[in-house]
């Protein structure tokens, strides 16, 4: 719209009408959904609690809270005692290990009980423990930040992690194993073959090991283990692989259906994560574990005994491991980039792949939807309006959630997370493409279309010969704006297991790089890419300005 053009008073009421319709349609769809939810909830009520969760009360904890504890020289314990409570980082989505039941809100699991045991030995009862659920990727950070005093949650002792934090323990030694259905012919890794589908968490080291060592075995990857376990119970996959005790947690949940088989084919030593340098606390915990008698076994049986997996308490003798030459991180800001060119290359490539493929999907789908929104067919308009109204009012993260978690639940072939991420970005961005097209067409003065119609042109030719060629000019700049947003939105895939720029921090922290320079570089890359697109936008704008 040119500078001198008066506000288009004619168009406004009509747009108001469209908007009102949008709202009505969207609201109608929403209320339908709400009714469906309510009905399903009622159905659930009458059916009562699923049988699988009817478990007897577990035995009481096999240890007592100590009194008047002094751990000489431990800043962590001193701070906790001054504060009056202990903050423990745990997991809450691993049954049998670190788990919370959303209905009863009870925490349970082997790791949680170990944490309770340690807390009790320091004089903190259950009411003096503050649990914080920390995701796997944030564990070191939470200890470094001081968010938690200690962390207990399937935390493998590795030299890389020990540069930032310390470990006490190990309190459990496990290794990669297989979870299968009761009565399955699979008894160990050797029984896997082209006919057995193995499932694990996306990009996790267990699935990578299977892929590398047994390329003949078909694999399926889900973002969360619970999805793998569900697929196993439904018969979509034949085995789930990861650390044996994690599998044992699910086996203990469904002891009649699932069983852990085979010898572990790797070694993971779980330790209690501590802030760096708290030797006194490490010694205290190691001593507790070593002198605990049969407490460990009681805690194990209480949580994982039902799984049938038999484990023994390891010797808790871990001390700070000498520096074994693992990477130290780059000395210079530039070195972060040049020293890890392989990972940066992969990340940038994936970001660009998501951008171009997602953009292509969005442009095609958005053009179809945009055409439907202005078409003379009421049904098509209603469908397109509902789609745009619903998706544009949904956060992109939620759209990703449905593609990454919801789609696999439908039991369809899994195309991999990059494809699902492209689908999510395309679906979301298409609504913006459609709206840009629609408002672009509305900038063409009504007289143009009227003149074309007066010449006797049908709808298709009015659009293709007269309106669209003019609309394209005013559409190009905002369309680049949509693409800029798409480029930035590719980072959301970081939350859903795609190795693009948003997730490189986690990968590089394994190599000992600190987060700040990595993220600054990510920001710099985005600023450069976005400014380049913005320059393109300005150039197109000037070049294709509509002179009216």
């Amino acid at each position: 719209m040119g500078e001198g053009q008066p506000p288009s008073g004619r168009a406004r009421p009509r747009w108001g009408g469209v908007r009102a319709r949008t709202a009505r349609t969207a609201l109608a769809a929403l209320s339908l959904a709400a009714v469906a939810v309510a009905l399903a909830a009622l159905a659930g009520c009458s059916a009562g609690r699923p049988a699988a969760v009817a478990e007897p009360e577990p035995d009481p904890l096999p240890f007592a809270v100590a009194e008047d504890v002094v751990v000489e020289g431990s800043p962590t314990v001193e701070a906790a005692q001054r504060r009056g409570h202990l903050v423990i980082g745990i997991k809450e989505d691993q049954p049998g290990l670190g788990f919370i039941d959303v209905v009863s809100r009870q925490r349970s699991g082997f790791d949680v009980d170990i944490a309770r045991w340690v807390a009790a030995s320091l004089g903190f009862g259950e009411d003096q423990i503050e649990y914080k659920a920390i995701a796997g990727a944030n564990r070191e950070q939470s200890l470094v930040n001081g968010d938690v005093d200690l962390y207990v949650g399937t935390y493998s002792i590795t030299a890389g992690r020990e540069r930032q934090i310390d470990f006490a323990g190990p309190y459990l030694v496990t290794g990669q194993g297989l979870l299968v259905r009761q009565g399955s012919a699979i008894g160990g890794e050797g029984d896997l073959g082209p006919g057995t589908v193995v499932c694990s968490a996306t990009g996790s080291s267990p699935i990578q090991r299977i892929k590398a060592e047994r390329p003949d075995v078909p694999t399926t990857e889900f973002d969360v283990y619970s999805a793998c376990v569900e697929a196993l119970r439904n018969g979509q996959v034949d085995a789930v692989t990861t650390d044996q005790v994690i599998l044992a947690g699910y086996a203990a949940l469904f002891p009649d259906e699932l069983v852990v088989v085979g010898e572990p084919f790797s070694e993971e030593r779980y330790g209690v994560g501590l802030p760096k340098g708290d030797e006194a606390l490490r010694a205290h915990i190691n001593e507790l574990l070593t002198d605990g008698g049969d407490t460990w076994q009681a805690v194990y049986d209480r949580n994982l005994g039902a799984s049938g997996l038999v484990l023994e308490q390891p010797v808790a003798d871990h001390v700070a491991s000498a520096d074994d030459g693992t990477p130290q991180g780059s000395a210079t800001f530039l070195g972060v980039l040049t020293g890890n060119a392989d990972l940066w290359g992969e990340a940038v490539a994936n970001t660009l792949l998501l951008f171009f493929a997602g953009g292509a999907v969005a442009l095609v789908l958005g053009t179809v939807v945009g055409a439907m929104r202005i078409s003379p067919v009421p049904v098509a308009r209603a469908v397109a309006t509902t789609y745009v109204g619903a998706v544009r009012n949904t956060p992109l993260t939620v759209v990703f959630f449905f593609f990454a978690f919801g789609y696999p639940a439908l039991g369809l072939p899994t195309p991999g997370y990059v494809v699902l991420a492209i689908g999510a970005l395309g679906t979301y961005t298409a609504t913006y493409v459609a709206e840009v097209l629609r408002s672009g067409i509305s900038t063409v003065p009504a007289g143009q279309a009227e003149a074309a119609r007066a010449l006797g042109l049908p709808f298709s030719k009015v659009l293709s010969l007269v309106v669209l060629p003019q609309a394209v000019r005013s559409v190009v700049a905002p369309m680049v704006g949509v693409l800029i947003a798409l480029l930035k939105n590719t980072t959301v895939a970081a939350g859903f297991s795609v190795a693009e720029l948003g997730v490189i921090r986690a990968n590089l922290s394994e190599r000992g790089e600190s987060a700040l320079p990595v993220l600054l570089w990510v920001a710099v890359i985005f600023v450069v890419l976005v400014l380049a697109l913005a320059a393109l936008q300005r150039w197109l704008e000037v070049r294709w300005r509509v002179a009216r």
Partner: protein, 306 residues
């Protein structure tokens, strides 16, 4: 728009439109039927899958998680409007030493993805000893981004006012600050209100990014519920509940934007300047279907947030 593109349909066009309508119904209906078939085949409507949502305990936690989403939104919304006005005014300053830093800040924060900003705050800053809970990382990142977008909105709003407004202000003897404070800003903000509210819809949607840095908000709780194997892993069900809540909240905010727009239209004094004054952060970013009236406007760089 549509009606200017085609004539009142004659008999052949009516028949063709009907055929197209039927084709649309068949295609869309087919897709929906297939999805429904998959949902039924995988037992998504079974009582076990919905059991958790029949307990008061879970709904209490859903309410609490929604509260945390809204808390982050409310803080970020208030802060980004304040930051937006401040930065917008700074960009309008006559002094280069005020204008240039503001420009750099606005351009940089609009170019960096909000998620990367959140990660910088949460994972990056502890290197300098600055540690914050995820809540503040979410709020500060959303404020930085949306404040920058709103700064452009404010600037565009002031820029679109007729020159006579400022001139009249100076003629009355007002100083620069007086002209801005008493004459320009009230009109600009008034005419830009719908766009500002639409940007707040984007802010609300972007709170869901907190899920990725593990801020314990609505989507985070949905995932926790969805991975409960003993309740049959109701991930689709939890996602559906979360999505319904997000959509309801966003529609409510969009409704506010539309209501403001209608109100402004009824009082043309404020509107005289509005339609041309279209904001950069405009429609694609708006997230609302409501504001695209403003869309026709000139440059709009920013598309939708996440």
């Amino acid at each position: 728009v549509s009606s200017t593109l085609y004539d009142v349909p004659g008999p052949r066009a009516v028949a063709r439109n009907r055929a197209l309508g039927v084709a649309t119904i068949v295609v869309v209906g087919g897709i929906l039927a297939f999805l429904l078939q998959r949902l039924i085949a995988t037992g998504q409507f079974s009582a076990e899958k919905w059991y958790v949502f029949s307990t008061a305990s879970v709904w209490e936690q859903v309410a609490a998680a929604t509260g945390r989403t809204l808390a982050a939104f409310a803080s970020a919304a208030v802060a980004s409007v304040l930051v937006g006005v401040a930065l917008g005014v700074a960009r309008l300053s006559d002094h280069a030493w005020v204008r240039w830093p503001a420009t750099v800040v606005v351009e940089a924060f609009r170019a960096v993805p909000v998620l990367v900003l959140m990660m910088l705050l949460y994972y990056g800053l502890p290197a300098f000893g600055v540690r914050m809970p995820t809540y503040w990382a979410v709020v500060i990142a959303l404020t930085a981004y949306n404040g920058s977008v709103l700064a452009e909105v404010v600037r565009a709003g002031v820029g679109a006012l007729p020159g006579g407004q400022a001139e009249a202000g100076y003629a009355l003897g007002l100083r620069k600050s007086g002209v801005l404070r008493l004459v320009l800003l009230p009109q600009a903000i008034r005419s830009m209100l719908p766009v500002i509210v639409a940007q707040l819809v984007v802010t609300l949607k972007d709170t869901a990014l907190g899920y990725i840095i593990t801020y314990n908000e609505l989507l985070y709780f949905a995932r926790l519920v969805g991975t409960q194997a003993q309740y049959d892993s109701p991930i689709l069900q939890a996602g559906a509940v979360a999505a319904a809540i997000y959509i309801a909240l966003c529609l409510a905010l969009s409704a506010v934007a539309r209501w403001l727009e209608r109100r402004l239209r009824r009082h043309p004094a404020g509107l005289a300047v509005a339609p041309a004054a279209v904001a950069p952060g405009g429609p694609p970013g708006a997230g609302s279907v409501g504001v695209e009236a403003a869309a026709a406007g000139e440059q709009q760089r920013e598309g939708g947030g996440a």
